[in-house]
Structure formats: structure tokens, C-alpha cells
Symmetry: C3
């Protein structure tokens, strides 16, 4: 008799490197639905009969209130201590079953789970793990393989040392929870990568296979990863227009664009898909919107350029440039504020994350801005800058460092006034007029 198949959702990560965003990574909203919908729900194998979710304090209540067509249980991992610890937290709920293990903030091609299960049926392997094929180095776990047999998992081998071109991602099928938990508990003396070590140990004794795939694999670790996940979610977008949409004259819409209910798009605006525009959002006159996500209840104002950016709900703009940026929610920018997205030397953009200087490997990256932020007119943020939730940035400022949560920021200025001894020209400018 086959074991019951239980979906195990690892959703307990702390997300501390995801600052300035307050939204839990797994619940970060894309096109009106949390990442969890795309990373787990829409890819669930049909044979799953139960779900166990290892949650964190910040997403627990979401999962507890979730309505599902099968039973589900939520346990909270006291502190984030890696995948093995998370699974062991839920051990008592996972006796004598098969497991389908999701990393909830990791998005893979939605066809992967069914392909993994199909290989498990065909091979009766102890475990089947999807392998993401990549030609450029990715700092994750690589499979050592003999054909499709997994020999081991090597964590971050470094460029040139990859044992294969396949990387370990979310969506592991494990046929026997008991054997797997034994192997996990066997790694006691090891601190890091316990989960991967357990699989390597099991690979020596059992049949573990890899199911290769190409295409989407992305996850939310750093705040700018929202842009990669967004583009991956846009991959299969199809144009769609909601109810009560008003589109004024001379609006050009190209490519795949999803437009929510009650959206208004004003004159002389161009939208180049893939794009998503949430319900009740107003796109102003003379805008250009390209490859971007705009949430619900936004107003983009006059003459705004939103390019390759994620904009959450309730954001207001006016004559801004928002390029390669992530704006969480309830953010407004004064007229002429610019989120710069390219260094003068066009080099890779770095970002300080938990006191570490990280190369984002992006040469175009604007700002990452947390919830409930206001930015004044003509203010400029430098590439890769992060602004914490609840902060107010005054006008005409140059923001060249990260701004913590709940700060009031101004650029020191000093006005010098003196008597004006220069004549003010009269209003007759006929010479200038001739040139119009």
C-alpha cells in the first residue's frame, strides 16, 4: 500500500535580509495573491491529501485561517534554524507518510511537482528531487549525478567547480517520512546544511533521482529579488481586462497586460506588457508603464515612467521616474522625485544587508521602499538605496544611504537672501516667442 502524500510547506524563515519590507516573504503579494499561491497552491499535486505548514510568527495567522479542500495543520518554528529543524518541528504530524516538501518562498516552474511525482511512479525511487538547469553559476546546492541518480548535494561549490549544471530547488518528493527523519536526526553533530547532508547520506543507501527542468526558479531573499520573482510570474501572463475599465483616447497597450476592475487609463499613455494593473488604479496622462506590477488603488499621476518595477497597493505618484524599483505599499512620491537606477560608472550596484556589503549583481536597480513612506518633490534616491517603513523624506533631498524605519529625513539646506539689485525683466518676451 502506498503511503499517504502530505504536502509540507516550509514557511518559517525570518526574512531579516528582506528589510525594508515588512510583509512576510511567503505572503508578499503579486497580482493580488500572496507568493504562497504561486509557489505552492497552484502547483500542488492532485494526490496530496493533507498539508502541514511550518509557519513563522508573522504568517501564522494567515495560514491558520486558510481555507483548503483538505485538512491542514500549522506549527510555528520558534526560531528560524534551517530546513531540517523546521521539518523536525513537525515530525509528530508526519508519521509514516510520503512527503512533498515545498520551500514556500521559492518559485519554480509550475509543472515541476507533477513531473517529479511522475518520475517517482516510474522509478519507485526513495526520493525524487527537481534539478534546475543553469548555465551560469548560482550560489546554491548542486547535484553530483550519475545519469539521473543523485550521488550527493554540494553546497555553493564556487564558479568552475560545479559538479553538474543542476541546482537543488523547492519541490522534493520523499517516499518514506520515517527513513527521512532518521537520516535528519543522524546529522546531530552537523551545524549547517543538515537537510542536504541527510539526503547525501540517504543517496548512498537508497535510490534518489533528479528530475531536470529549465526555466523559472527564483526566490525572495533580498528585497530586490521581488523584481526577479515578478518577471518570472509575468512569464505566462495573458492580457485580461476587468469590469468597468475606462481607457481614454490615444492610449497604446502592447504585449500582455492584465487590467483590474474600475481601472482608468488617461490620454497619451503607453503600457508595454508584461504588466499588471490592480483594481481601482488610475494611470494618469502621458505615462509610460513597462514590464511592471502596479497594485490596487494606486494613482500614477501625470507624466510618470514606471519601468521594470514592482509597485504595491495604494501608491501615488506625480511626474516620477520609477525604474527597477520595489515599492511595498502606501508610498507616495512628490512631483519630480526620481529613483535613480544606474551608477555613473554603470557598474554593479551594492547594498548593505545586515552590515554586510552585498553585490546585487545588477547594474540597474533603483530603490526598495517599505510601507507607509512619503517622499517630497524633486528628491533623488541613489541606486540600490533602501528606505524603511514609516519614514518621511523631505523635498529636494539626495538620499545616498539607507534610511531606517520611522525616520524623518531632511537634507540640510541654508537659504541666503540679499537685496536683489538685478532688474527683473518685464513680461514682454517677443524675441523668445518668435522661436516657439
Amino acid at each position: 500500500m502506498k503511503n499517504e502524500l502530505v504536502a509540507v510547506v516550509l514557511a518559517g524563515g525570518s526574512g531579516s535580509r528582506f528589510w525594508p519590507f515588512q510583509t512576510n516573504k511567503v505572503l508578499f503579494p503579486f497580482m493580488g495573491k500572496p507568493l504562497f499561491y504561486y509557489s505552492v497552491m497552484r502547483t500542488l499535486p492532485k494526490s496530496v491529501s493533507r498539508m502541514v505548514i511550518i509557519a513563522s510568527d508573522s504568517n501564522r495567522s494567515y495560514f491558520e485561517n486558510l481555507k483548503l479542500p483538505f485538512p491542514h495543520l500549522v506549527v510555528v518554528q520558534a526560531e528560524a534554524h534551517g530546513m531540517a529543524d523546521a521539518l523536525l518541528t513537525a515530525k509528530s504530524m508526519l508519521t509514516s507518510c510520503s512527503l512533498f516538501i515545498y520551500i514556500a518562498d521559492h518559485l519554480v516552474d509550475s509543472s515541476v511537482p507533477e513531473k517529479v511525482l511522475a518520475k517517482s511512479e516510474a522509478t519507485s525511487a526513495f526520493a525524487v528531487l527537481p534539478g534546475w538547469q543553469t548555465d551560469t553559476y548560482f550560489p546554491g546546492g548542486y547535484f553530483t549525478l550519475e545519469n539521473d541518480r543523485v550521488l550527493s548535494i554540494v553546497e555553493k561549490p564556487g564558479t568552475g567547480n560545479e559538479p553538474s549544471k543542476y541546482v537543488d530547488v523547492s519541490g522534493h518528493y520523499i517516499s518514506d517520512s520515517e527513513a527521512f527523519f532518521s537520516a535528519l536526526q543522524h546529522q546531530e553533530s552537523i551545524k549547517d546544511d543538515i537537510y542536504e547532508n541527510a539526503l547525501t547520506e540517504l543517496a548512498a543507501k537508497t535510490d534518489i533521482r533528479m528530475e531536470p527542468f529549465q526555466g523559472i526558479s527564483s526566490s525572495l531573499k533580498y528585497p530586490w529579488d521581488v523584481l526577479k520573482v515578478m518577471q518570472d510570474l509575468f512569464a505566462g501572463l495573458k492580457s485580461q481586462t476587468g469590469k468597468n475599465v475606462q481607457i481614454k483616447s490615444n492610449v497604446v497597450i502592447e504585449g500582455e497586460v492584465v487590467i483590474g476592475d474600475n481601472v482608468k487609463i488617461f490620454e497619451n499613455t503607453k503600457i508595454t506588457g508584461p504588466c499588471y494593473i490592480g483594481d481601482n488604479t488610475i494611470i494618469g496622462n502621458n505615462n509610460i508603464i513597462r514590464s511592471s506590477h502596479i497594485g490596487a488603488n494606486c494613482v500614477t499621476g501625470f507624466n510618470t515612467d514606471i519601468t521594470r518595477s514592482y509597485v504595491g497597493n495604494s501608491c501615488w505618484f506625480h511626474s516620477n521616474y520609477i525604474g527597477d524599483s520595489v515599492l511595498e505599499e502606501n508610498i507616495s512620491l512628490g512631483s519630480g522625485a526620481v529613483l535613480a537606477n544606474l551608477r555613473l560608472d554603470e557598474a554593479d550596484i551594492f547594498s548593505n544587508v545586515k552590515s554586510e556589503r552585498i553585490n546585487t549583481n545588477l547594474n540597474k536597480l533603483g530603490a526598495c521602499i517599505g510601507k507607509n513612506v512619503r517622499i517630497g518633490v524633486n528628491t533623488s534616491t541613489m541606486p540600490g538605496i533602501k528606505i524603511g517603513s514609516g519614514s518621511l523624506i523631505t523635498s529636494a533631498a539626495l538620499i545616498n544611504r539607507d534610511i531606517p524605519d520611522n525616520n524623518y529625513v531632511e537634507c540640510e539646506t541654508k537659504l541666503n537672501l540679499k537685496p536683489n539689485r538685478q532688474p527683473v525683466p518685464d513680461g514682454n518676451r517677443d524675441n523668445f516667442r518668435k522661436k516657439i
Copy 2:
């Protein structure tokens, strides 16, 4: 025999709270005509046979040169000392007549005077005063009433203490000048509100009625009041297009818009009425103009947004945002200059008027700028800022305080130069091109 009906125009106010505007309040131009035209001339009852104007030094010559279809006299109030003093200045010209008393900077619905006179005919009351019905507290004189009989006038009773919902406004009919002057002179020992006290005293002895009305009532006290008066004047606007108007392709005009002679409107511009555009004005490409007054001989340039604003004659713009602002005349803004109109906390905007901090009761208010001002490129003014006539503001400045008349203002800046050790990228940007 009925008394002769004399229109008495109180136009002697000092207007010191109207700074930075130099134009006399009563002569402030709207749609090519002074406020006096709208507040007095177009509402004059037909039975008026003479006009007495109590002027100030700054509008005296205008009134003296006025051509009217009946005799008029101009007297100058030495100093502005209230309505009673103004009237007493002209006492010798107002013997044994009926009076129709206008406060010349106060705009009321143009139907009011005839309705007031009609009630005087119907009731033979000693006086008829129009009463503006308002549901929200207004800091003016409220009527205490018994039906339509005025019992007294209570000055600024405070919210919740209003004796009725009717407020005293411009347009008093007084049947007998002699009795009224007696009552005025009887208030000798009183300092303030002599006029209102005289009416209250007369109300006890004679029949004073109120004629109620709803709708327009506004006046010019503070500079931002120009916006309220403008919107009130726009109420009945009807579209109209002058001679020799050029409108280029893809211009969208919605609502009621008055366009003067020789106006040119360039491509991709949208105008949403009510709007007024004066003679010879050029509206540039890719503009948006909403609910605004633009005077004669202006050039709005490329990509300008003028919203809910008053712009006087001979103003030049280029890629500006002018929201909820008042620009008197001969003002130009450099490219990218922004008049911010909303605080970061979206709270009410305050303004210093004669060393008093006034709540404008507006959460959207841009700048009020006097005549003959130049503002440099990329300069930002903060909400509610006032700039005096004849001042030059340099580029890239943050103007966060009022600027007096005839100042030259710059924001202290210091450029640091050092050898550039970073390579300047070559012009080949094929990777960027692919994303266009």
C-alpha cells in the same frame, strides 16, 4: 415718493493680509476683468441711479477713470478703519437716499441684489440684508432671526454657537440713509463692528429682514482666497473660443473652457474645464491644464501641469508642476521647478500672515507668488510658501520659508571636485538597448 437708490461701494481696505500680491484686491483680475466687475458691476440693480465709491490710494485712479452709465463719485478713506468709518467718509454725498452697500472684494451669487430689492418692495422693510446659508461654521457675522426678521448680528460666535445658519455678506439694502447714519454715529464709544452694532440697534426699532440664499460667497482676504474666488467665478462658465485660435492635433478639451484670441494649443495637451485661457497665450506640448485660470500672453512650455491654480498675465513655464497655486503676473519658472502642494503628513497647511500663524484650512495649497518673479530650474517651493514681488530665486533651491519682496535668494551649495579615478563607460550600451 421713494428715495433715490445709491450704490455705495466699499473698496478702501488696506489688503495687508493679501501680500505677496501687489494688485489691489478689488482690482485683482479674473478672466480679463477686475474682481469689482463680478462683485459689483454685473449685479447692480437696475434702479441704481448713482454710485459712491469709497476707495483706497491704490485703486483710486482706477475708479476715478471708470466710465459708468450714471454719475459716480470717488472718496478716499485716509486709513482703513472698517465699514462704518468708510461710510461716514462719504456721508455728505449720501443725504436722504436709499443705499445699496457693496463690499467690493466680496463675491456673492449675482442674483442676490435683485432678490434683496424684491423683498424690500414686498415688505417695505427699513433694510434687507442677504443671508448666506452655510452648514459648516464660517468666521463671520451670523444673524439672530425670528422667521426672516433680523434681531441682531453676532460676530464670529464660534462653532456650535451659531444663532442661525445664515451669515451676513455683501449687498445690504438700507431704505433711509439719514436714519442709518444716525445709528452709525450713535456707536461712538464702540471700537469694533460699529456697522453691525448699528444694524442690531436699528433692528430693535425698525423692520430689518434677511433674504436667504445658497451658493457663492467668497472674498479676498488672504492670498490663497484667490483660488476660492476663481472657482466660484468658474461656476457658471460656458465654453467659448476666440478669434485666430490654433489647436494642434491630439488636443483633448473637456468641460467648459474659455479660450481667448490668438491662443495656440500644441499637441498632446489635455485641458479639463472649468478653465480660462487668456489672449495670446501659448499652451505647449504634452501639458495638462485642469480647473485653472491662465492669463494673457503666457507660455506654458513643454510638459507642464497646471492644476486648480490661478496664473496671471505674462507667465512662462517649462516642465513645471503648478498645483493649487496663485501666480500674480510676469513670473517664470525654470524647467523642473515644482510648487509642492501637499505636506508629507497631508495635514492642513499653515501660513504666516503679518507674524501670525494662520491655518489655511487647506491640505492642498502650493505657492502664492507676487509680480515679477523668476525661479530657477529644479527649484522646489514648499506648500503654502509666499514669494514677494521682484524676487529672484536661483536654481536647485529648496524654498521652505516666505521670501520678502525684492530679494535675491540662493541655496548655499558647495561643489567638491576630485580626480575621477572611475572609468567612464564607453558609449556602447547594447545591453541597455535590448530592454527598450
Copy 3:
């Protein structure tokens, strides 16, 4: 037997007043061709059988590699010491011939050379010099005339002292090189204007005629002279469209516009000729381009205004105002950067050239920017500013002085952070929405 006609091209000037531009003046590219093409090649009389070029170190290799339909020789003037010295450098190559002498950075009407030669045939004069008719004073050499006989050349006589209204320009025909070289060598003791003195001396002994013309006469001395030469070259422009050009909807093109191969012009853009747009250049959405030269491989981005400006190859813009400016090559401007082109007092703009303060005689002049420059977002340059090659200017700076080559420039700023005690408004802005 007539002498052989040799074209002599004076191209050895140092161009030190042409900073910040690095390109040799004679090779400065207009519409894909060096100035030399317009000033010399396209005006060459058919009877020319040989060319001698007096070059400088910086243009020598260009001339040496030039393919011509007749023999040419290049000599290098060791140091720039005026026209006479330049000619004497090449004396050995110019024995017993007629000369047609070009000043290679001086552009005159292309019909001038043939008219000069025609007069030489008709009159058998020793020399024929073209005379540019000008009604306003020009600081050059003026002819003293008796009918069309040249009596002398008076250098910079000063306003009001002009001996005629004809100015000496490029394109001298000299029938006998030997006699001319003798006269040049005769001026030994003279330091300046040797060439003009030699002509004056010869005028007393021989028949020297002037051929008058009106119209184009301009040359590259100061960097802003590029604008004058550009407009002169635009004089005869005819519309022309290259291969594989894409023009999107609602693009308006007026006047004469030359569009190169593979150019793309995006929606809602207006181009008012005369304009030149080089190969592979992308004109973005909602631009306005007027009376300007844009080189090859440029991208103007969204919402840019380029007016009366010269833009070289490989420049990138985004929401900029470029008015009356010269941008040499490989320059990019961040979003919102503005090149201011008008003083607040609208007076003439001055520029420091080699430590001398020069009146440009222009009241509209933006920036002159050398090769390989990057300018950050929201930065403003003041009218008449020059920026040296290889310099990086950071964001939000006010550039109010010339910047030398290869500098890194920032505007000193100081951010003040304090706890934000003001509530951040929630995203519900229904009241604002009503006004949209």
C-alpha cells in the same frame, strides 16, 4: 598658359578656445561628416587639381588617410602661428601655381568658391577675395574698397569704424603663388596679421578684387559656435528618411527632418525641423525635438526636450531639458537633469575662456559638455557652463562653475535623520481621488 590651381587647406589651428571639446575643430562632425566636408570638400572648384593641407597633430592622420580624386599632401605646422606661417610651411609644395586658400574651420555659403573663380576669369585680377556682407559689426577683417577693388584689409576696426560692410572670410583665390609668398616673406618684422598685411601691400601694386556675398559665414572658435555652424548647415536641409525606420503612432514631424537608418521614434513625440537624427538613434515617447542635431546611436528616453542643441553620437537621456547646448559624444544625463539656458535676469551669458571672461552675446545658452561625461539625476547646470571630458557629475548637484577634464564632482550634502513623530497617513485618499 594658366597656372595649375592648388587648393590650400589651413587646418592647423590649436583650438585651445574650443575646450571642452576634444574633437579637432575641422573634424567636428555634423550630420555624420566632419566640418571639413562642408567647409572645403563640397565647395571645391572643379578646376582644382591638387590639394595641400596644413594640418595639426590632432587631425594629421585623418588627412593623411583621406581618399581624394586628385593628389594631396599633408604638412604639419609645428605650432599654430597664424595663416602666413601655415602657408610658408607648405611653400615648397606650392611653387608657380595658383592658390585657392581655405580656412578649414570656416564655413561660407557653398556657392562662394565658384563665384570667386568666375570673377577671376572675368577680371584677370591678381587675387579675388570673397566679402561677406554684414549689417551688424563682426570682429574680423573689413575690406576698404573702391567699387570692387580691394584697397586694404582693416582688422577689427570696432563698431562704427567699419570701412565697408564686407568682411574677409575663407576662400581666397591667388593667381600667382610666387608673388604671394614674396609678399608674405616681406612682412618679416610684423607679428600679427601678416597674411592680411601682405594682401594690403599687394593691393597697392596689383589688381585685387572682392566678390560680395550674403548669407552663411560662421566658424568654430568657441564651443558654443557649434550651434551657429549647425544652424547654418541646416539652412538648406531637405527631409530624408533612411532604411528600416520605425515611427510609432501619433508622432508629428514638421519642417525638414533628416532621419538616419534604423531610427525608431516612439509615440507622442514631435519633431520640428530643421533637425538631423543619426543612424540607430532611438527617440523615446513624449519627446519634443526642435531645430537640433542628434548623432548616431543615441537614446533620448522618455519625455525629453531637445531644443536648438547639438548632440553628438552615443548620448543617452531620460526626461531632460537640453536647450541651446552642445554635447560632444558619449554623454548621459540622469532623469530630471536640466541644462539651464537662460539667466534669471535674461541678460547675455558670459563664459570663462582661457582665464578671460567672454560675452557670448547669447541670452540663451545651455551647457557645453565634452566627451565621455555622466551627469546624475536631478542635477542642474547653469547657463554657459562647460564640463570637461571624462568627468562624472553626481546627482542633485548645482553646477555653477566650469568643470575641468576627468573630475568627479559632488555637491556637499548632509542628511539629518530623526525619529518620525508625525503619523504617516494611510493609503485611503478618497478625497484626493474625487478631484482627479
